[in-house]
């Protein structure tokens, strides 16, 4: 099934509802369909359709235009520097690239501004019915190396949408605020889910807490998805202003894309007592969300006296009804409840495929997420960082998360990352990058080491503690551990 069907159904059932709000521009579902048909008409055979730019009304148009012709849609990271961007463009050719930039030129690329594509003739044909053809080629963020091109097929995405969204389930006045960039899986799934639900998409191209709060108020936003850093900034902005947020229409906030600090979600729940919070865990390779910690789970965890239930505020919830999760140890054996290992996932929405490298699924359809974690007795999934981030000290596996959880509990510590540093005796040892609140009496390295020694074991005690002003994150809130590892390795040598 082609994802173009999503827009076709929406335009058929609610043609006059507003689909997209981008600055002063407002597009109905009928107009969105018309534009998608027009842009599709500009695409030549064998061309992919690339999109390079901030979030604007053209991003959802391009996504559906590509689907209509059967070509893959390739949204590109406009924040990349010239060299890495050119490398991705080269891998995308032959393609029509929609961009308002003037610095893009390469063999095999036809570059068009959004405005010049809308004068053409719309194509009237039906979308091809090759469900297994790639709908989207999405470059992963490449925080650990060269970006990989993940292939998401029509069937993967349709399975996700049909399994999670009820058609036209949004009320006429519902609006979702989209502040994730168009090249992020959350930016793609936001378009597909919102169109299928009939929820107005309000785009915020450049996130700042102030702009987000302003737009949410003026557009009467009811729903939003945020990465943890964004929610943190919103919480800080509201704290700074000293006044309660004026967002009477806001009903639901979903978050994901990285580890949510406990203090932030607790503060947010207190600030927005009437808002339903949902934690969504997913990967590019799984067509977005695979696990949900739903609003009831949040409230129960927050108010429970039982530590088993309370700790679930730090979990990513339970798998979708259409998804299976399995935890395996290093030897591939299934782990029991509360036993940490590697997270595997299975379901129709899971693509697990990269261009060039092929499918990463095993014979039974399981995809290795490379995340570490465990399931509790009720099936709640707790994540424990990436498998690649594990610190191996003299053959002992140390999870950065357990050290970070202990250190962040210090009232003066604002942010912390534990990474592997080279160690002549043990191969690797624990290095700590710490951000402290300058307005308090910050702890010294000795004090932090002592906290780790007392709470954990001596093998966890950092051999290097580095105080810095901020930790490096990418624009979607992913902690760049590789950068910290490199910095600390330099400091230690």
């Amino acid at each position: 099934m082609n994802i173009f069907l999503i827009l076709q159904m929406a335009a058929d059932a609610m043609p006059d509802r507003v689909a997209v709000v981008s600055g002063d521009e407002r597009l109905t579902y009928a107009a969105l369909l018309e534009r998608a048909r027009t842009v599709a008409g500009a695409l030549k055979q064998d061309q992919k359709l690339g999109f390079l730019g901030e979030s604007n009304a053209m991003a959802p148009v391009a996504l559906f235009a590509a689907a209509l012709t059967g070509a893959p849609y390739v949204p590109l990271n406009y924040r990349l520097a010239e060299e890495p961007l050119n490398a991705l463009l080269k891998r995308t050719a032959p393609a029509l690239i929609i961009t308002d930039r003037t610095d893009v030129a390469q063999d095999g690329l036809v570059v068009s501004a959004s405005s010049s594509l809308l004068g053409g003739k719309p194509i009237d044909s039906d979308a091809p019915d090759d469900a297994t053809s790639p709908a989207i080629e999405l470059f992963t963020s490449g925080t650990t190396g060269e970006p990989k091109s993940a292939i998401l097929r029509h069937d993967n995405l349709m399975s996700y949408i049909l399994g999670t969204v009820e058609f036209m389930s949004a009320e006429e006045d519902e609006a979702t605020l989209i502040s994730v960039p168009p090249y992020h899986i959350a930016g793609i799934s936001a378009v597909l889910s919102s169109v299928y639900a009939g929820r107005r998409m309000v785009q915020l191209p450049n996130f700042s807490a102030e702009a987000w709060l302003g737009l949410a108020a003026t557009e009467g936003v009811t729903n939003a998805f945020l990465v943890p850093t964004m929610l943190q900034r919103i919480v800080e902005q509201i704290e700074k202003s000293g006044a309660a947020p004026q967002l009477p229409k806001l009903r639901a906030l979903a978050y994901g894309g990285g580890k949510m600090p406990l203090q932030v979600i607790e503060a947010a729940m207190d600030m927005f007592p009437d808002v339903a919070f949902t934690n969504a865990y997913g990967l590019t390779e799984t067509s977005s969300t695979i696990c949900l910690l739903d609003p009831d789970d949040h409230r129960q965890a927050r108010s429970s006296e039982n530590p088993e239930v309370r700790r679930r505020l730090g979990s990513v919830g339970r798998p979708l009804p259409t998804i299976e999760i399995q935890i395996r140890d290093e030897d591939g054996r299934a782990c029991g409840a509360d036993e940490a290992g590697l997270v595997f996932v299975r379901g129709d929405q899971v693509s697990g495929e990269y261009k060039g490298a092929g499918s990463q699924l095993d014979g039974d359809g399981w995809f290795p997420t490379k995340d570490r974690g465990f399931l509790d007795t009720e099936g709640f999934l707790f994540l424990d960082g990436r498998a690649d981030d594990v610190i191996v000290r003299g053959g002992e596996n140390i999870s950065p998360g357990e050290i970070e959880d202990v250190v962040i509990a210090h009232p003066s510590v604002k942010d912390v990352a534990a990474v592997a540093v080279p160690d002549t005796e043990w191969g690797e040892a624990v290095g700590l990058a710490v951000v402290v609140d300058p307005e308090t009496t910050p702890p010294g390295a000795e004090e932090l080491c002592e906290i780790v020694r007392k709470s954990l074991r001596s093998s966890r005690v950092p051999t290097l503690v580095h105080f810095c002003d901020a930790l490096p994150y990418n624009e979607t809130g992913k902690l760049l551990r590789r950068v910290i590892r490199d910095d600390l390795a330099r400091l230690g040598s």
Partner: protein
């Protein structure tokens, strides 16, 4: 005359505006009807009336299944006719409502 169905196929009602898409179906041909009349891959120029015994309606966005869930259809366009396999009506698939996560 029964039709052999496969996933992705679009079927039109002969009696109303209704249209469905096959999500999954058994291999053997099925006598799939809407509003009492057999469905077709072709769009009829003129729609005959709905049999009032099969006027339970087709709702856009709903998924329809048989009792054993051996087949599943997505309604892509609503109509007054109801789906049936022969004369056995198909039911709406009940799915757990999930909070929006994007």
């Amino acid at each position: 005359m029964a039709l052999t169905l496969k996933a992705g196929m679009k079927l039109n009602s002969a009696v109303c505006a209704g249209q469905i898409m096959v999500l999954r179906a058994p291999k053997e041909p099925l006598d799939l009807r809407c509003g009492g009349a057999e469905m077709s891959t072709e769009e009829a120029a003129e729609k005959s009336g709905v049999d009032k015994d099969f006027a339970h309606g087709l709702l856009v966005g709903k998924r329809y299944v048989d009792e054993e869930e051996t087949m599943e259809f997505l309604c892509t366009r609503g109509g007054e006719g109801g789906l049936s396999l022969g004369s056995t009506p198909l039911g709406v698939k009940q799915a757990k409502a999930l909070p929006s996560s994007d």
